[in-house]
């Protein structure tokens, strides 16, 4: 029994142990790794991928995913930049980005819940449409001369970069939503077994809409952070960023089978990828080798995911309000695979 709980503890915190091991290794590899400047760099570089990863995590937990986030980020970003240039209002620019990303994600939700399109296909279609609109709108040209717009991605509040504040605040909000609300528990239930979730009275369609809405808000914020970080409206920017988000979520222990994943795990996953990218640049690893190493890490993460699934069983607890009646579902992962 003692061994079992030890194993469970290892399983629960293994991703943080990996991160800790990486940080120690990186510190030995380069003396600058743990410098304040470098930690700040890593966090600034991670702000957008981590926020995107939270959106992907919420979707994957509830049995879906979003392949359109990179393109929607670009679309919302360039339109936000345009809005800023037309109005001069930072708040309006931020709201415009969120509104655009929200609309795109509402369409995704409509496709998935009402028209029963597989999320993979629905969001792939949105990926093409959003990128197409961004390119059509800008005619493929970068939008320049952003003036104060760069404050979102390059500004600081005291000594802390604003992008890091966004990331930290969103981390807390997502953690709270997932861990301490009925909505969060419902997502695990939907992703673990959708039919059982329906049977237990969860409004699956409504919850899926809410997840896409949350994802839209996150992608919209990323659009602003990304464009302001590079000081340009780049219609062809953030290509492949959805994969960065997905990778961080999966490395952080979110299971593609749904019903499994944590905010802190995803944050750790993003940091593992971020530290990996950072240390390879600091010690001057060749571009080609970097790709091989990153690919290998993703492969290892997936193997880890599959192995842990086959070993353990997942317990999803659907608690009624105020913890009155509890219904529990135990899903043998062998059965899923």
């Amino acid at each position: 029994m003692k061994t079992k709980s030890k194993n469970q503890l290892m399983e629960k915190y293994s991703i943080f142990i990996v991160l800790l091991f990486m940080i120690i290794l990186c510190t030995f590899l380069n003396r600058n790794f743990l410098s304040t400047g470098n930690i700040s760099n890593i966090m600034k570089q991670l702000a957008v991928p981590t926020i995107l990863a939270y959106g992907e995590m919420l979707l994957i937990i509830s049995g879906m995913l979003d392949l359109s986030s990179g393109s929607v980020l670009a679309l919302s970003g360039v339109l936000s930049v345009s809005c800023y240039k037309a109005s001069g209002s930072l708040m309006l620019a931020l709201l415009a980005a969120i509104a655009i990303a929200l609309i795109c994600n509402l369409i995704n939700a409509l496709m998935v819940t009402n028209f029963k399109a597989p999320p993979f296909i629905a969001t792939l279609a949105m990926q093409m449409v959003a990128r197409g609109i961004a390119l059509f709108y800008t005619q493929g040209q970068n939008i320049l001369q952003l003036d104060n717009y760069v404050i979102f991605g390059q500004g600081t509040l005291g000594p802390v970069p604003i992008s890091i504040i966004f990331m930290a605040a969103i981390t807390v909000i997502i953690w709270y939503l997932l861990r301490h609300t009925r909505f969060g528990r419902s997502l695990y239930a939907i992703g673990g077994n959708e039919e059982a979730a329906v049977a237990s009275g969860i409004n699956v369609a409504k919850n899926k809409y809410v997840v896409f809405i949350l994802n839209g808000i996150l992608v919209g914020i990323c659009g602003v952070l990304f464009m302001s970080r590079v000081n340009a409206g780049l219609p062809n920017g953030a290509i492949g960023y959805e994969m960065e988000g997905l990778t961080a979520a999966i490395v952080g222990g979110t299971s593609f089978s749904g019903g499994v994943g944590t905010t802190m795990g995803t944050l750790a996953g993003a940091f593992i990828i971020g530290c990996l990218n950072n240390i390879m640049n600091l010690i001057g690893v060749d571009s080609y080798i970097q790709q091989i190493v990153k690919g290998a890490i993703i492969a290892l993460a997936v193997i880890w995911d599959i192995r842990s699934k086959s070993k353990k069983s997942t317990r999803v607890i659907l608690a009624e309000d105020k913890g009155k009646a509890c219904t529990s579902y135990t899903t043998k992962k062998e059965k899923e695979s």
Binding site: L79, S82, I133, Q139, Q141, Q145, V230
Partner: protein
């Protein structure tokens, strides 16, 4: 269900409103004049009679390629006897080759190809020649196709003019970082080759403290530069194979006292680079003018179609832009609407 459909329509309307509402002041800046077709089904030119020319662009998502496509359309407007249709290769060899085949089948009088990958398009450009259609390869040219013509900017020379200037400007025992374009890309490889031969081979005192492929992208360059600044106490120069990446790297060090004298070299002469050079943030770039390239392409295709000449290989001039002449090019971009007045 009606409510749901209404919801969809409302969403679409909102999106439309955002697109039109927010972008009013941007229209002049970002919209070119080209009408393009992504699926290889461009409508026939509006000018009746005359010559029909197909332009197969590498990728409309690439900002330079998109600019060139727009300028090609604008340059074609100057010829009463030429109508130009633009097709998008979507940065995909298969799609670009299919677009070339479709253009041959559609019986265009001339086909101008901007290759995605020269060797992949070579057999298809040969097919254009075999079909008796005027063939031009541009940006970059595909060498050695008998009967085909070419219009290009020489990527080696473009980088070399920067490298020669850097020979004088980069201090002794300098630390430099190098940002490369995509591996295997003709222009990326040739520009790097020029820097090697014209600068690094002659300056053994210079140390490359960081070199990465940032794929022409500004955001990737930002990330690399952030890491290089952390791992190196001193960086004296940024050597970039295009302006986008140079601008990205400069974004990281701008305003930092310890990097106030950093030198930065790029290629392309983009609007952003010209502004940075005018501000004194960037050192130099070589103009690869899409306007000149488009004009020369149309001039060449016209000469070939009218039989004035049968084969032409020509390059636009490489113009070095420094603080001394940057104002002219900033003005050029202002006139074309790519920069605010």
């Amino acid at each position: 269900m009606k409510r749901k459909i209404f919801g969809v329509l409302l969403s679409a309307a909102m999106l439309g409103a955002m697109l039109t509402g927010c972008g009013n002041s941007e229209n002049a800046e970002t919209r070119g004049t080209a009408s393009t077709e992504a699926d290889g089904s461009a409508a026939a030119g509006e000018k009746s009679g005359g010559y029909r020319v197909a332009y197969i662009a590498r990728a409309q998502s690439d900002s330079f390629a998109a600019w060139l496509a727009n300028e090609m359309q604008a340059a074609a407007e100057q010829y009463d006897d030429i109508s130009l249709d633009v097709f998008d290769g979507q940065a995909d060899d298969e799609k670009e080759n299919a677009a070339i085949e479709n253009a041959i089948t559609n019986g265009y009088d001339a086909i101008i190809v901007q290759p995605n990958n020269g060797e992949a398009q070579r057999p298809y450009v040969e097919k254009i020649v075999e079909a008796g259609i005027v063939a031009i390869t541009t940006n970059a040219r595909i060498d050695g196709i008998e009967g085909a013509s070419s219009v290009d900017a020489d990527p080696y020379k473009q980088a070399a003019v920067n490298a020669k200037l850097a020979l004088e400007q980069i201090p002794e025992n300098a630390n430099v970082v190098v940002l490369n374009g995509p591996s295997g890309n003709f222009h990326a490889d040739k520009r790097r080759e020029a820097w090697q031969a014209e600068f690094f081979d002659k300056r053994s005192d210079v140390t490359i403290v960081g070199e990465q492929i940032a794929n022409w992208n500004k955001d990737e360059a930002v990330q690399y530069m952030e890491d290089w600044v952390t791992s190196n106490d001193r960086i004296d120069a940024i050597i970039s194979m295009n302006d986008n990446m140079a601008a990205g790297a400069l974004e990281v060090v701008t305003g930092k006292e310890e990097f106030k004298d950093i030198l930065a070299y790029g290629v392309d002469g983009t609007a952003e680079a010209c502004l940075l050079i005018q501000d004194g943030t960037m050192t130099a770039t070589c103009l690869q003018s899409a306007i000149d390239l488009a004009k020369l392409n149309l001039e060449t295709v016209h000469k070939l179609l009218t039989g004035e000449e049968t084969q032409i290989d020509t390059d636009i001039e490489e113009v070095l832009i420094t603080k001394d002449n940057s104002e002219n090019y900033v003005q050029m971009y202002k006139n074309s609407g790519l920069l605010d007045n």
